[in-house]
């Protein structure tokens, strides 16, 4: 009996020793990962300056090359549709455990909406410690670690969290769901070997900021931690081929609207279990129109391969668009198409063209004294109004609250087609005519003919403010 007890005691002791040794190893490993990643974490700050004011925005960033290229989530840029030249005074903020953080001047390189990353580069050359992402998918149950920064209110302190790979979600953007918690937007996700597998991405704008002006004390990643990350495979091509100030990314397009076929619709077309999209609208003169694609055509394959399945039919058009967007202008893409059930599939080959200019890429002009900002007309402005692509005019981008233009019920998105009876042919001409008219006839109303978003025309009569209308002011 005695020996038996001794044996038991020995076994129990051994278990205790190995257990605590394993935990000690694990803790050391976590510290190693944390120390490895920490030097590559920075914050990116810029001043968003528009006609009506300015604001500082700060986001988490990751150093991705040894010459200091920093990638940061586009979340804080794109949803606001901020034009590039309104983003000024970029700074890279390097946190410090012992002293104040350091701010380095930097230059914006551009954004890549295909990977939802924007890039910034330090102005002073220096050698940096970069993160190397790897295109690896963890297995369900694998331990994961996430290292990121806390907001300015917590001194940009680095933090690490622990999680377990749960499952992969299908959709236009692949996402990995974890059990446990990840650090904030822009933080890096690593496996137990310290390999960088992905990045925490896109949440709501407030959650993505490291210095939320509305609530500087807020620590969203602590009290409402993310549980999804984007695997590196999705954004690695973007890091390998980043945009630069003189080489922006040109996104290709095909020029048609699509809708994912529901299960019932697919069966009707004899396409059971074949992810397919239906062409809902073809934009005149687009690659789709030139190739002869037409409304109600059903696309079943791209370049001879099935369309990747989403979790929902609604996701299929985005999956197709993202696939196209990762090709290059001038590339050819072949769709397998039927129009009616029972049709023999035909092959339609399109040549990709650059996507039309987006509103945030358009030049702007601030009509300061009457308080409105206009920009060049772009494709979406004519498309939404069912107007010809050749329509000319300028579009109201912003209104100063309480100013004369707003009082006259001019609204954002109004398309100005005429000013004082003269057709508006370009932004430059509008600017010149506007300045002439305000200088020569400051007391006269400014009469604008506008087309609303719903296609209705309206005459807007802006009465100049009395005090500003004095000559010489």
């Amino acid at each position: 009996m005695k020996s038996m007890n001794r044996l038991m005691a020995f076994v129990v002791t051994m278990i205790l020793i190995t257990g605590s040794a394993a935990r000690a190893d694990e803790a050391a490993n976590i510290r190693k990962i944390f120390d490895l990643v920490k030097p590559s974490l920075v914050a990116v700050k810029y001043t968003w300056t528009n006609e009506l004011g300015s604001q500082e925005l700060t986001s988490a960033g990751v150093i991705v090359s040894e010459d200091g290229l920093v990638a940061f989530p586009i979340t804080i840029v794109t949803p606001l549709l901020v034009p590039n030249d309104q983003m000024q005074r970029f700074k890279i903020i390097i946190p410090s455990d012992t002293g104040d953080e350091t701010e380095i001047d930097a230059t914006f390189q551009g954004r890549d909406e295909r990977t939802s990353l924007a890039f910034v580069r330090p102005d002073s050359p220096e050698k940096w410690q970069a993160i190397k992402f790897e295109d690896l998918w963890p297995q369900t149950g694998d331990p994961l670690y996430s290292v990121g920064l806390l907001p300015k209110g917590a001194g940009y302190k680095a933090m690490i969290t622990e999680a377990v790979m749960s499952t992969r979600l299908r959709g236009p953007v692949p996402q990995m769901l974890v059990s446990g918690q990840l650090a904030g937007v822009g933080s890096i996700v690593l496996d137990a070997q310290g390999r960088a597998l992905g990045m925490v991405h896109a949440r709501s704008i407030g959650d993505a900021l490291l210095d939320n002006p509305e609530n500087p004390e807020d620590l969203p990643m602590v009290f409402n931690p993310p549980r999804l990350y984007i695997p590196a495979g999705d954004f690695l091509p973007g890091i390998e081929n980043p945009p630069s100030a003189d080489k922006p990314i040109i996104i290709p397009w095909i020029g048609c609207e699509m809708k994912g076929l529901e299960k019932e619709d697919a069966e009707y077309f004899g396409l059971k279990d074949v992810p397919s999209v239906q062409v809902d609208d073809v934009i005149p003169d687009s690659p789709a129109a030139k190739a002869g694609l037409s409304k109600l055509d059903v696309i079943t394959q791209i370049d001879g391969k099935p369309i990747e399945r989403g979790d929902l039919p609604e996701e299929l058009p985005d999956i197709v668009v993202r696939k196209i967007q990762r090709m290059n202008v001038g590339d050819k893409v072949t769709f397998t198409v039927i129009h009616d059930k029972g049709d023999t599939p035909k092959q339609v080959t399109l040549t990709l063209e650059p996507r039309p200019k987006e509103p945030q890429e358009a030049k702007r002009y601030y009509a300061r004294d009457l308080g409105f900002v206009v920009r060049e007309i772009t494709f979406v402005d004519t498309y939404r109004r069912h107007a010809a692509a050749s329509t000319t005019g300028v579009v109201v981008a912003q209104l100063r609250p309480q100013a004369a233009a707003q009082a006259a019920r001019l609204e954002p998105q109004d398309l100005i087609t005429q000013m004082n009876g003269k057709p508006v042919l370009s932004l430059d001409e509008f600017k010149k005519d506007y300045q002439d008219s305000r200088r020569d006839r400051p007391m006269d109303p400014l009469v604008l003919e506008v087309t609303k978003l719903d296609g209705k025309q309206q005459t807007i009569n802006i009465q100049p403010p009395q005090e500003d209308a004095q000559p010489g002011m």
Partner: protein
Amino acid sequence: MDRIVLRNLACWLALLMAGCQTGPYPAATPQRVAAVTAAISPAVVRVDIAQAHYENGKQSLIRGNGSGVIIDQQGRILTNYHVAGRAIEIYVTLFSEERVPAKLIGDDHWTDLAIIQMDMDTVKKQHIQFSSAELGNSSAVVVGQDVMAFGTPFGLARTVTRGSVSNTDRTFFDEPKTLDIDGYETGDFSNWIQMDVPINPGNSGGPLVDLNAKVVGINTRGGGQNLNFAIPIDTAKPVIAAILASASPARKGRVDRSDLGFELLPMHQLESYYNIDINRGVLIDNVDHIGPYADAGGQAQDILLAINGAPTNVRFPEEMAAVRQRIASLPIGQDVQLTIKRGKETKTLIAKTSLLQGFLGDEEGFAQWGVSLRPVTRPFAVAQQMDQVAGVWITSVADGEPVERAHLQYGDVILSVNGVPVTDMAHFQSMYDQTLAAKLDSVALEVERDREVFTSILKVKEYAPSSDSNE
């Protein structure tokens, strides 16, 4: 002779003698107010209604109440559209406190008026007495004159309020949003009487009377404070005539009007810009892309100078309703001569008027598909920037039933059914009936949503509600 009739006679006599004052604007002496009250009250009714309404693809009833005024001895009652319009069940409560069923003769949302008919069999069978009110002339109403409002605010028993006319020509044209009643346009063709007589919910449809006990308006909008509005009785008279002339047992009465398919703007502060004399013409601000004026070659920013030679001058918003009314009363489907100024040129365009339609057509339910629909009207097609006026559009869907299962939603336009283009609601109804009769498993719809057109398959058999649900 019946007691009530005698009492009415006595009232009128009292009215004649009250203060012995004659003329159009008698003073509101206590005797006079009491006499007017006694004369009008027996012609005022409380109106309780139920309106059909579709929600989640199913019909349900909305109940409400308001006021009305009996306008003749046949038991016809004038009230507001927003009280009794589209009603499928009506009861009126008379001065004698008797409750009598009634039915809708006809309605007109543009002027917010409706006429209902008391069930005269009930009235005779139960020997119910009532009197009718005399309609006056709202053109003679002047600012400052005393007036009285009758009605049943908040469903209370007969109530009389008193005050004076604040404005005889009130327009709502300047409001950023056009007026509507549950989405039905209203107030385009007349100005309003504004008065400080308190009007509360439930007063709607009751008469506004002068101190000669003549009806000069129908109380319509107010908030119980001192800013309240009535429809002038001169606006109501032709509407009453048109509804009564067009009503039949099969179809409710209506007012047909002409439309040219444009929107107008007063010229005030635009005269020098358009280089035109003060008080001349009206600006055509917007031209519907489908419509008579577009067909005639009209453009936005044309200035309309005359219709069939008669000038159309609108300098101020108050003058707008009269010109709209002129257009509305043109013969429908006939050529009119429009004199316009475009730039420096003056020219004549010939346009063929069309029947005025509202944005909303009549709503109908299709229970086996779990959907309610309205026809695509010209204004709907214009607002949605559609290429043509065709199809029916979805106003609500029932959860779990075929249309909802096919992921269709509010605002989607059904363009075709099994490849056959939908022309109007009756045509749609017949195709719907055919698919049910043929017991089809599935139906292919062509659907327009915003600019996009797609195919949608309804699994009719699989997802239809059980047959005992109400159609």
